[in-house]
């Protein structure tokens, strides 16, 4: 598998909502490729044993009943900017009055 490039890691960072300092970029790419080289060991494996059953996550089904949960005050309590009953964020639609 090809090694990841600086542009690719910047694209991944954009998807992950992180920014990478340009001074740090080449080091991050090198570390990333070192890890990828190790995890690509999995490509050596040919898993054609049909007896390997894929895991299906255990899920317990519950009755759909309402029950006490966090109150609005509790939900907003740890927000850096909120006024009941809303979280405050900057305007996301362009134009209009701000």
């Amino acid at each position: 598998m090809s090694k990841i490039t600086e542009n690719e890691i910047l694209k991944v960072a954009k998807l992950a909502k992180l920014s990478i300092d340009s001074n740090d970029l080449s080091k991050r790419v090198a570390e990333f490729n070192d890890i990828l080289t190790h995890i690509e060991k999995l490509n050596e494996l040919k898993l054609d044993d049909k007896s390997i059953i894929k895991e299906t996550p255990h899920l317990d089904m519950f009755d759909d009943q309402s029950r006490p949960s966090n109150t609005i005050d509790q939900v907003l309590q740890n927000s850096p900017s909120a006024e009941k009953p809303f979280f405050y964020i900057p305007r996301v639609i362009e134009g209009g009055k701000s």
Binding site: I4, V12, N70, N78, P90
Partner: protein, 484 residues
């Protein structure tokens, strides 16, 4: 014997006979923390007032029928939510986070009258093997403070080893209970996946995370394990299984004839001669107790680290998307618009290792790479699970060393992420397979403790605890404490 050295049952007996009170006991451990934690840094938060209030309540309610943990101080890893007490997960991004409810494990402990003495240091979001990834500074190994206590539950392990708390809770996603237990010379148990509720536990990798107990001895660990186990309808992966029960009589059962498997993929020429020598001595002890040692194979072992470092970061990248600067984190970049709030809050709030794993997880889940990495890792995970199921057709317990080396120096592996990941080489497979596993002290190398890992069948923690107890009573390594 100092009160700090006493077992949970001994302390409980003293409380019930009114030879001491929970308030006195709690003060003793608070004093110990005050005297020693400048050297260890096991705790991120100690709320003395709250702990003494809980101890006062425990004293009021204590009677002959009280649970063995009633009135006993317990330290809690800082990824576990505690109502009204700052819970940071070792991260700057949750620096001011005050939970509005308790994790189920905390509720269960409060219900039996246990006293929460403090929140322990850990790698940020439980990502690490040395506790050096804590945003609040590293925790130090009580046996040698220039060395790591292991991670990610380093604070919980160090606190028990340093006699700052009789027992503690940690979490294990790739070895985060067993590895620090081994390096700190105490007992740590990762229960079967689904055995202990994850409700209220800061999520790292949801299909792997489990809460588990630490204790100086197997008996203490068993008592705490029983108290936190059981079905919880607020965790959809919780299983309806009978708990092991508060009585610890099963620990004393004879292990004659019990089959203990040694996987050739763990114990081979790659193992250091010193660790090999210690492991062989441990096997001889188990044989002398009547166990039969058998060679087994877990064929996909060599792929476990690779599989883990795809599955865990993938789940982490999704779980940590919630830290967005909007709901419960410090906000940065307000003036530059919504997207910049996300980017700047997360970049400033997450440490290097967490960012590395989020990037890795985002990469392996992204279009074009999903099949080659993530899907392949899920197939390998199923193969690893099958390896364990096949092995447990032949043996009752599997034994391996807990770690490939003794506690390493702080900073020794910090600059090389891949080298750090390999510290978990013996512990990552069991979270992938869901099996329970523990570490029990098995000797010393260069005056630093080593751990023996015992792996059990799904929901058969009793058998590994039984074997560990017999081993512990024979070897008595638990009686040695670090000089502080």
């Amino acid at each position: 014997m100092s009160i700090l050295e006493k077992s949970v049952l001994e302390l409980s007996s003293m409380l019930k006979k009114k030879e001491t009170t929970s308030v006195e006991l709690t003060k003793t451990f608070l004093d110990r923390i005050a005297q020693t934690d400048s050297k260890i840094h096991a705790f991120l938060k100690v709320d003395e007032k709250k702990a003494l209030e809980e101890a006062t309540n425990a004293d009021k309610n204590l009677n002959a029928n009280s649970h063995p943990l009633a009135g006993i101080p317990i330290a809690i890893k800082d990824v576990i939510l505690t109502n009204g007490i700052n819970t940071t997960a070792g991260s700057k991004i949750l620096e001011n986070f005050i939970p509005t409810y308790d994790a189920t494990v905390v509720t269960k402990l409060k219900n039996v009258g246990a006293v929460m003495i403090g929140k322990t240091n850990c790698d940020e979001f439980a990502m690490g093997s040395s506790n050096e990834n804590s945003a609040y500074g590293p925790c130090h190994n009580p046996w040698d403070t220039s060395r790591v206590p292991g991670g990610s539950s380093g604070g919980s392990a160090a606190a028990v080893a340093a006699r700052q708390a009789p027992v503690s809770l940690g979490t294990d996603t790739g070895g985060s209970i067993r590895q620090p237990a081994g390096l700190c010379g105490i007992v740590g148990l990762k229960p079967t996946y689904g055995r202990v509720s994850r409700f209220g536990v800061t999520a790292f990798a949801s299909s792997l995370d489990q809460v588990g107990p630490f204790g100086k001895t197997v008996e203490d660990t068993s008592i705490l394990f029983d108290a936190i186990s059981g079905f919880d309808d607020r965790d959809s992966t919780s299983e309806r299984k009978e708990t092991i029960g508060v009585s610890t009589e099963y620990l004393k059962k004879d292990i004659k004839g019990l089959k203990i498997g040694v996987p050739k993929e763990y114990v081979n020429e790659k193992l250091s001669p010193e660790i090999r020598k210690n492991f062989d001595e441990s096997l001889k002890k188990l044989e002398s107790l009547g166990a039969k040692i058998e060679n087994i194979s877990l064929p996909h072992t060599d792929y476990a680290i690779s599989c883990y470092y795809i599955v865990a970061p993938a789940e982490a990248s999704s779980n940590l998307a919630r830290y967005d600067g909007i709901r419960y984190t410090t906000r940065k970049g307000e003036s530059a618009g919504l997207n910049e709030i996300y980017v700047q809050s997360r970049t400033a709030g997450f440490g290097k290792e967490v960012q590395r794993r989020i990037l890795l997880g985002t990469f392996v889940l992204s279009a074009g790479y999903y099949d080659a990495y993530y899907k392949k890792a899920l197939d390998v995970r199923a193969a690893i699970r099958k390896d364990f199921n096949d092995a447990f057709q032949k043996v009752d317990v599997i034994a391996t060393p807990t770690s490939p080396c003794e506690a390493f120096k702080i900073g020794e592996k910090a600059s090389n992420p891949m080298e750090m990941y390999l510290a978990d080489v013996f512990t990552v497979a069991t979270p992938l397979s869901g099996n329970p596993a523990l570490s029990v002290p098995c000797g010393f190398l260069n005056n630093l403790p080593l751990g023996l890992q015992l792996i059990g069948k799904h929901f058969d923690e009793k058998t590994i605890l039984n074997v560990a107890y017999k081993f512990e009573q024979e070897t008595k390594f638990y009686q040695k404490a670090p000089a502080l």
